[in-house]
Structure formats: structure tokens, C-alpha cells
Amino acid sequence: MMALCGALAVYIKRLCYKGFYLIYIAGFIMSEALIPNIELFIANIDPFSRLPASLMQKVTSTVKITYLAKGEVIASPKNEQDKYLFIVKTGAVEQRLLDGSLRGRLEEDDVFGFSLFSSSETRYQITAIENALLYMVPAKTIYHIQSHYPEYAQHFTAKPEDRIHSAVESTWSDMGDSSFFNRVSQVCSDKFVEVQSDTPIFQVATRMREQSTSCAVVKNQGQLVGIVTDTDMIERVIVAQKSTQLPISEIMSGLPITTTPDASVFDAAVCMMEKNIKHLPILENAQVTGLLSLYQLFQNHRIQAVYLINKIKKSQDEAELARYMPEREQVFLALANDKVPADLISTLLSIIMDTVNQRLIEIAIARLGAAPCDFCWIASGSHARKEANLLSDQDSAIILSDQSTDKDKVYFRHLAMIVTKGMDLCGYELCSGKFMAVTAKWCQPLSIWKEYYKKWVRSPDYERLLNLSVFLDTRVIYGNQQYRQTLVNEFKEMTAEPIFLSKLVRDAVENRAPLGIFHKLVLTKNEKNEKTLNIKRYGINIIVDLARIYALSAKSDTCNTSERLLAANKAGLIDDATLKNILSAYNFLKSFRFSYQFDMLSKGLTPSNHIDPDYFGSFERKHIKDAFRLIDNWQQFTKMKFS
């Protein structure tokens, strides 16, 4: 009787499955996937998600599966055969270093064990903190992928820096012809015609028409002397009612800005944006060998940024400026959607911010009358570093001539008021720390600024350190460039002193990068979890702060974080490997922040720097962990180096 019941139960067990069958079978049986469940699961886990289906099948057929009871420990591998890459299918495990400190916690869909493959392997113990089902990919399989499929090898490397580098590459750079990391010479030249400066306008127009191009370069005695576009033809000939018999030199733009074949596409694009031009002749040995146009680089809607800059430059007042600003968000959305590199997005947002700022100063001067003395308007913070994002607020200051009077100061307070209010109207929030030119303290003659810096550098207590870190990143937006340079030069030696730097380092290592994401919380070093990840404070800013310190040590003037890292590398303060690691981590975090803000905006939400752990997919969880690990190592290394 019992046996019969059992038999019945077993049979029912079988029958009950049948309902599920229909959905799956056809595809799987055709592809001969015998264990579709596992194959499908692993195929969705980065980096396996990058492998072609045929290779995935091979990988799956080597997998081992194990189940750990809570508290169970995986012995550290004794030989090659014991080495695996682990994927957590269910449950959770914890990694602890030999000194007992937490290295990470891993849950469903997380991958770990990469470092077990490296020669300088990180020693840690794995303990199940919940009952856990683990899929194990043998080291031999990983080696097989690495040696037989070099195109996927970098995704399986033991080095977090290599993995994150390939993650940035595969998600964020456009690999097409117009890749911003290419050289200008690698990009196809746009069509153009070459004419002599005495050629009549109508002949130039005819040739442009014949070649169906929108641009002509003008030469005189073998030298490039000007450039003409179809827009110029309309504006300067038709609208201005000029005779088409006149020589082209009458209407061309003289002294054109040019680029060289070995310049980067990135720099060329930024140059066109900054100068508000759409064509850039490529000059090689005084010959025009090609033409780069913005239309080529920014296909479709990306060109919107150029039009926006143009409109800002022509705005008559604050209200008109503010009307255009929603387009800033559109520009950002278009760039982020096209996965334009984060560096380029922030550079473009900075250029837009510069242009608004400059235009507001011009508007203020037009309203108040000419400036009574020499001055310069300084941007500080992320704006100065050309690292603006949609959340960037205003950080500014004014340096006045030492000849300025108290009456002059009143003028500049008015000017600062107009500009600051105007910026606020345009969506650039007021700085909460009041680091703005409108604050009397930050609108002072050069001599007072020198006193400020002297005080800050000599005895940097908390408040002074804060002031200093804001004003160590400065860039002239308007006015006399010399004032900033004077300050920088005067304190260059003092700010490179080890004693001074060690104080900056002490402050910069206070925030430590988290360990990763676990159970919908951000896992921190002190094991006090947080609800959201402040990607700015615990990621990006750590790199920004350390890069500043290295740049000061290298006595470099530059403010941009990537450029600072490069300068420190050139000065021998950062080795090539660290440079690559930190740049990769930095680019990953910046790209990640942009894609987060993009998603927030697309959903009609207000973007922020606080990322909800729910937002992280398996891919992001894995790579953000790598990024944090790289940052943390560098932070600890820097602490030793400067203390």
C-alpha cells in the first residue's frame, strides 16, 4: 500500500512538470542544451554574458555545483585543481582577510574568486553566512577561455583594473569611426574645396555646390588664410546683399583655427565647442590634408550642444538665458544615451556652464557700465576642474587689482550679485558653503588673496583646509588671467611641501570607499551598512582629492583630475599601472553616475548622487566593487607615501 502511494506520488510529480515544458523546450532542445537552467543563468552573469552561445555550452559542461551550510568554510585552494571562479546562485557568503577584516559579502548573482588565479593572490577565507548554492567554474576552463579566445580574455583576468577597464570600454565608448579616443587622422575627412583668396564668391559657391560640401578653405600663396561655410554665404553675401563678383577673401573668416592629424578627436571636438565653430581644417606641413566637422563627430541630435552654446552667446538677458536651460538637460540625455565617454560629457557641460557664466558677466557689465579696475572671475570646485555634471553648483570668486578702491568693491558686489542670481536662475544652484564671488570675503584684491593662501597653507586647521581644497582648484572664466597665475606660482613651492601634503592626505583618507553592495545595502568598511551609496563622496571625490595632492606634489598647475593624474605620472609620482587603474576606476564611476542620473531623468525623477542599491545590476555590482577596491588600495598606499 505504501509503495503504491509512493509510486503514485512520483508519477504525479512527473505530470505536474509538464505544464511548464511548453515555454522552454523548443529552443533548448534544438540547441541541445541539456541543462538549460544553468546555462541560461550563467549566460546572464557578467563576464560570461559576453561569451558566444557555443562557448557558453562548453563552459557549463565543466561547472561543478556545491551547497554550503551556514557557517561552512571553503578551504583555500591548495593546488590548481582546487581553484574555481564562484557564482552565488542562492544564499550568501563572506570573504575575510587573514587578519579577520571583512573583504566583501556576496549574494545571489555575485561572482568571486578572480584573485585566486593571480600570482600575487589575495589570501582570504570564504564562509557561508546563509545556506548557499554555489556554481563553480574550474580554473582550467577560465585558462582555456583566456588562451583560446583572446578576444574575451580581458574579461576573465585576475586583475580588477583590467576587468574594469574592459567594462568601461565595452559599455561606454563608441567603437565606431568617430570614437573620441581616436586620432584625428583616423577619422574620415569631411568633403571640402580649396580655393584661392582672389577667387570670386560665385565661383567658390559653384564649386562647393558641385562637390556638395558646406565648406571651403581659402589659401593665399600656399598658406591657409581663411575658411568659408554655406552659412557664411547666406549671412555675409545674400543677407548683406554683397556682390558675388567680389573675391572670397571679402567674406571669409580669417585666421582659422586648425588641428593636426595626431591630435585626439576628443580635443578637436572640445576645441570646436569652445570656439563655437563647426569646421576644423586638418593641417599637416602647412597643407590642408582634411577637414573635421562637428556634424561628423556628433551625429543626429548630439549637435544640439553647439546650438545651445550659440544661443547662450547671443542671449540678451537672464530671462532669455534661463529659457534655454532646459536644453542643457536634453543635451545631457542625448550624450548619455549615446554612451559618449563621461569625460566628454562633463567637458561639454563645463563649456556650457562657462558660456552661461561669461555671458552673464557681459550682461552685468553692459548694465553696470565698464569695470572700474582690472579683475578676474574665478571658477572653483568641479566647475574649475571641467568636471561639471547636472548637479554642479556655483563655486566662484573675484580677484581684484591691488589698485582697486572700496568704491570699486561695491561695483563688483553688484556684478557678482547679477551673475550669481543669473546662474541660479539658469539652474546652477547657489553654493551651500557660500564659496561665491557674491560673498564679500571671496571678492578681494590680489594682495588679500595672497594673505588667505599664506594662512591656509601655514596652519591648515579644519576650516582652512576646506577653504583651501575649494580654492586649490581654480580656473579663470573671465578677465585677467595673470592674477590666478600669480597666486599659483607664489604658492607652488609651499603647497608641494611634504608636511603640508601630509595634512591634506590625512583629510583625504577619512572617507573610505565601501566594500560593495549586499542585501540592498551599501556595505562599508566598518560593517555599518548604509541605505544608499553616495557615489560622489565615497568614490569620485576620493580620487579627486588624492589627484589634487599628487598634482601639488608634482607642482602641476592643472586642475582637471585626469590631467592631474597624468601630470603626476609624468613627474614619476604615480607609476603606469596605478595610473591606468585609477583612471579606469574613475571613468567607471563617472560613467556609472551619468547613467544613473540619465535613468533618473528619464523616469521624471530628480537626479542625485545617492544611488539606491536596488539600481545595481549584477554587472554594476561586480565592477563597482572592483573600482572601490582599486581606490581603497591607492588610498592606503598614498597614506603611507605621504605620512
Binding site: 512538470y17 541539456l34 555545483i65 557557517g71
Partner: protein
Amino acid sequence: MFGLFKAKNPFEILEKQRKDFLNIQLPEQIRSSFKQPIANKDIMFDQLSLLVLDFETTGGEPSQDHIISMGWVEVHQKQIDLALKKHFYLNNSEQINHQTAVVNQIVPEMLEQGSSLDKAMTSLFSHCQNRVLVVHGKVIEKGFIDYYMQQKYGVSELPLLWIDTMKIEVWLANKTGGNTLSQDNRLTAVRKRYQLPQYNAHNALVDSLATAELFLAQIARIYRNKPVTLETLYKISQ
């Protein structure tokens, strides 16, 4: 009958059965698969070699129904090894109720290319060497194997060591005072209780794998990570 088994150590009984079995006139290929002694009762769970098995059949009665497919995976030292898996479709298609094949999503072409029952069984026996067999609901698998041996060679029962994960669930329910009658002990339901992933596709191989994972999870739940012998495992799974 139960009393008889209780009186003697089941391992000893099985060892004797195996000796008797080897005296029967059988093809050497099958006979040689049973030459090895059965596993030692004191061997620890984490040192065990298991063969986890599943059959897909047209029904529950070996004398009327047929095996459509069989699949198994091996487990060594608590690790399921997907490199050591096997999956057979059997080509007894002319006897298969067409309806069943459709339900199982097995197309006639697959059955034609399938293996003969003899070939599949011989392969299974050779893989049983030094392995403890694990199934979920052994009535089907054991029933069909025994029926095959009976028909083919007149042997009533193969001297194999079976662990039944379904029986472990019954044992656990009894032990913890649960309701043994109303508890759903079908594989999918049990796996759900253990929070094992839902496997949406099913075939003999996937189900054998699902059973293997369940077995590891059962032992982890019952014994945490304390050592446990084969003898204990055997006792709770009958």
C-alpha cells in the same frame, strides 16, 4: 519483512546479495559492474561518490509503461560535476503513446536517434560502480530497473545502495513533528522549501541535477556542517 531488515545491518545484507548476484549467469559486461564491494557504511558524506538518477517514463507501471529518457549526474566530495553527466533518449518509440511524447516535448526524430534500452541500462550499470544511487522517489527508477532485469535476465533485484531524497523529507517531517500526510513531497515543492532555485525546464538530466542539489541541501540543513556517515544517511532515507 521490515522486521527482518531491522535485525540485520542492511549493508551486510546487501553485500551478501551482491555475492549471490555475481554467481548468476549474466553477460560479463553487466556482471563486471558489480564486482566492486558496496561502499563502506562508515564513509563520511563529504567523501562519498554518488550517482544521482532520474527517469522520465510514460507512467508508473513498469510492466505497461516505458522509459522515455534517463539522466544522471555524479557527485564527488559534495560537488556535483556537470562534466560527469549523461542523458539518454530511448528509441522504443513505436510503443510510446504519442500523447505522452508530445507532453514531454520529445519529437519522433529524437526518439529515432535515441539509444536502445539495453545500451542505456548497460551504461547506467557501469557508472554505478563504487557509487551510491540517489533518486527522488525511488519507486520509479528502482521499479523500472528491477523490471528490466527481471524480464531480461530473470533477476529479481539489483544489489544497489539507494538513497531516496523523498524519504528523507518524510523522515524529517516525522522527526520535526510535521504533518507527513499533507506535506507536498514532489521535487519542485521540496526544492521550494529549501529555497533552491526554480528550474523551469525539465528533463531527466535536469531533474537528476535538481535532485542532487536537493540532497546536498537536505544534508546541510539536517547536519549543518557536522560530519555524517553513509550509514546514517542510509537510515534516514529508507
